[in-house]
């Protein structure tokens, strides 16, 4: 299953690209409209890019009344990404979306790195959201929380149906001549290839601790990358930064993924899930085991 990462595709501007996805994830919607950050909002880094869009969106009322009915005409399942500053914000957003048949799932953009205890904050947000909706809930976590598996466990315990892993990391790019930050907000979210090993580790850890369905994302550009996310424990992959350069990426990655899975001896991409994990359930690679244990396995 191939999705877009939230904020990396405008379905109404690019309906043709959207129809090549198994589900479309919206840009994050907040309770009130947000203008977003002043330019400059993007910058290329050596192996990725920074963005500092600032959750520009029309707010939940305009989204439900104007955007959602248009998205529904595309005949692609719509996952709505929601974001806020308090658990009450998330509950309000989930309640507004709960009864709407055009909403297939809700992604909780729980990525505020400025809270004291991320695991507790995640739990509080998921508990409040769970009480507000029966829609499938995917909790999108930030790697900036430190121990992402603990936040994932908290989300699972609070009733999250799945995880989206992962959000961007904070990064900084300086102008060549002036040595001043390129972005108006100085730092921004780093995405793209630089993120891939970090995201892969997050998927790997959270698959072990929760067993939940996982949408893996972070620098996926090819079918090989996608197959690695499935092996680490993802049940689906989302494309983000690559969509900016290559709107044909969903079709290409899907084709490459099927070829890659077959060439590795799997009947289909779904069968790859968890292949990176030792069947004994231990997380240590074979060469760290004692000879006796290796003999047993």
């Amino acid at each position: 299953m191939i999705l877009n990462a939230s904020g990396c595709l405008d379905a109404l501007e690019a309906p043709g690209v959207t129809r090549t996805l198994d589900a479309f994830v919206t840009k994050t919607v907040t309770p009130l409209p947000r203008r977003g950050n002043a330019p400059v909002r993007i910058a290329e880094a050596d192996c990725g890019m920074l963005n500092s869009i600032g959750l520009a969106n029309p707010g939940i009322d305009a989204f439900v009344n104007r955007t959602l009915p248009q998205l529904a005409t595309l005949d692609v399942p719509v996952w709505v990404s929601v974001g806020g500053f308090t658990a009450d914000d998330y509950a309000l957003l989930c309640r507004r979306l709960d009864g709407l048949p055009d909403v297939a799932a809700i992604e909780l953009n729980v990525s505020c790195p400025n809270v004291a205890s991320p695991a507790e904050a995640t739990e509080e947000i998921v508990v409040a959201s769970r009480a507000a909706t029966t829609k499938p809930l995917y909790t999108k976590l930030s790697p900036a929380v430190g121990e992402i598996a603990a936040a994932a466990e908290a989300a699972a315990a609070a009733g999250s149906d799945g995880l989206s892993l992962m959000n961007t990391l904070r990064g900084l790019v300086l102008e060549a001549g002036t040595l001043r930050p390129v972005l108006s907000t100085a730092s921004g979210g780093l995405s793209g290839p630089a993120l891939r090993p970090v995201a892969l580790a997050a998927v790997y850890a959270c698959y072990r601790t929760t067993g939940l369905p996982i949408v893996g994302m972070g620098g996926v550009e090819t079918g090989r990358h996608a197959v690695e996310f499935l092996a680490a424990g993802a049940s689906a992959v989302a494309l983000g930064t690559i969509l900016f350069r290559d709107p044909g990426a969903p079709v290409r990655v899907r084709r490459e993924l099927e070829q890659e899975a077959r060439s590795l001896g799997y009947a289909n991409p779904g069968a790859v899930r968890g292949a990176a994990h030792d069947s004994t359930g231990e997380s240590l690679p074979p060469w760290t085991k004692s000879p006796a244990k290796l003999a047993q396995s």
Binding site: D10, R35, G36, C47, T241, F244
Partner: protein
């Protein structure tokens, strides 16, 4: 709009700039002022480049090699393949009676194509040095000024102005000619409305230059900014 891998036909130096010529294949060149996203090999993001000229079988782009992506584009060799995606955005309206092209620096890039479509109207081009001014050779009927003279000093009323150049020049042109068509530039990751990176203030709102522009009426941007200030 389509994205295709195209072959580089030639890269010709022109002053400090590079004229990158690629095989057009099945791509529609669009209208002057529209742009293509060119993917420099090895870079994460593509770069927006307006069409400089679209002779039979080719697309020409004038590149100013000032950053990591544009330097890669300017060093492409004949036969190299690059991904080209477009045409994108809204170009210049061509229903003008007394056109005058006003350009500054690399802002000259869309003018050869525009001049051809408008029947070689007069152009007023400003550059920072005589070497930069070599790019004026691409534009017919051009009067050229070099700093410290600015194009706005030579601008006379009574024209339908179509302008492209650095932001201070565009704002100065817009102050003098509120109905001018101005082609703006912004950092852009995608070119098709996906990234929200290219936000500029249009009619008092932050809007995406790639889908609302890059060509805008001056009073949509310059006047709106003045009222807000």
């Amino acid at each position: 709009m389509r994205r295709e891998a195209r072959s580089v036909v030639a890269v010709e130096p022109l002053g400090p700039y590079a004229l990158v010529r690629v095989a057009r294949g099945g791509l529609d060149p669009g209208t002057p002022g529209q742009f293509f996203m060119l993917s420099p090999p090895g870079r994460v993001l593509a770069r927006p480049m307006s069409v400089c000229l679209a002779p039979p079988g080719e697309l020409w782009f004038l590149v100013n090699p000032v950053g990591s992506g544009t330097r890669v584009l300017a060093r492409l060799a004949v036969g190299d393949r690059i991904d080209v995606f477009g045409p994108l955005g809204n170009g210049f309206r061509l229903d003008v009676r007394r056109p005058l092209l006003v350009g500054g620096g690399i802002g000259v890039a869309p003018f050869p194509f525009l001049s051809e479509r408008l029947g070689r109207p007069p152009a007023l081009l400003g550059f920072r040095s005589a070497r930069h001014a070599e790019a004026a050779a691409l534009v017919p009927n051009a009067e050229v000024v070099v700093e410290p003279t600015f194009v706005t000093q030579q601008l006379t009323p009574g024209h339908d102005v179509l302008a492209c150049g650095p932001e201070p020049m565009l704002r100065a042109v817009g102050e003098r000619a509120p109905a001018a068509q101005l082609a703006w530039e912004a950092p852009m990751a995608c070119g098709y409305g996906a990234c929200y990176g290219c936000a500029v203030e249009i009619r008092g709102e932050l809007r995406r230059l790639c889908v609302d522009g890059p060509v805008l009426r001056a009073d949509e941007v310059v006047g709106a900014a003045r009222e807000a200030a």
